[in-house]
Point group: C2
Chain length 123, copies 2
């Protein structure tokens, strides 16, 4: 998200009392800006209830668009739009069989992340 600063300078904190040693040390191990943006974009996909539900049902079985729509009690179009997002971010894959398209989870990380999330909220 791009928000404008009304000045070319960023304001941060008006002092020189930062903990310099820590800041410098962490500064040196920071990943690329791009990598962190990708990471946020990746997690953003998990951050919507419709998409989480889709991921969950696909973690149980391969499924077509209308199966998912039925399970989630939502319209076919809404599901299809979200599947596109999931596809683009490589969280799901699909195979075509005649008229119907079967979706499934892309790889093991997705399952692991879902499971870790579940554990966290159940605490």
């Amino acid at each position: 998200m791009a928000y404008r600063m009304n000045d070319s300078e960023v304001e941060q904190c008006d002092f020189i009392h930062v903990h310099e040693d820590i800041v410098n040390q962490v500064q040196s191990v920071m990943p690329d800006e791009d990598q962190l943006l990708d990471l946020a974009e990746f997690f953003r996909v998990f951050g919507d209830s419709t998409r989480i539900k889709i991921l969950y049902v696909l973690s149980q079985a391969e499924m077509c668009v209308c199966d998912i729509a039925t399970l989630l009690q939502m319209g076919q179009s809404a599901i299809s739009h979200q599947l596109r997002v999931l596809k683009q971010m490589r969280l799901v894959t699909y195979r075509r069989d005649g008229k119907t398209v079967f979706y499934s989870l892309a790889d093991g990380h997705i399952q692991t992340i879902l499971a870790q999330g579940m554990e966290h909220i159940e605490e």
Copy 2:
């Protein structure tokens, strides 16, 4: 997000050709609606680049608000607002030491999830 349906019925798919066996089987193991909403809400927190950066720097060291603002080259207020979100969702904790407040990651799941995400995007 709540969007209105112009009818009381949900439209799903206009047919009876769903794969009933799969749908019924998955239906029976679906977690509560609430649990899936919580899960999405939890992941939503990871889905913003500012928050991901905060989580990343905190994975390296305990830090005060201004350290973070300096590292991320952002305003104090923006960081503070995001820390509140992270606090509310129990992704970070804090301790006060005089005027300054030191933040750190709440538990191990956060590290694991970050690491899994990194692995995924590096593929």
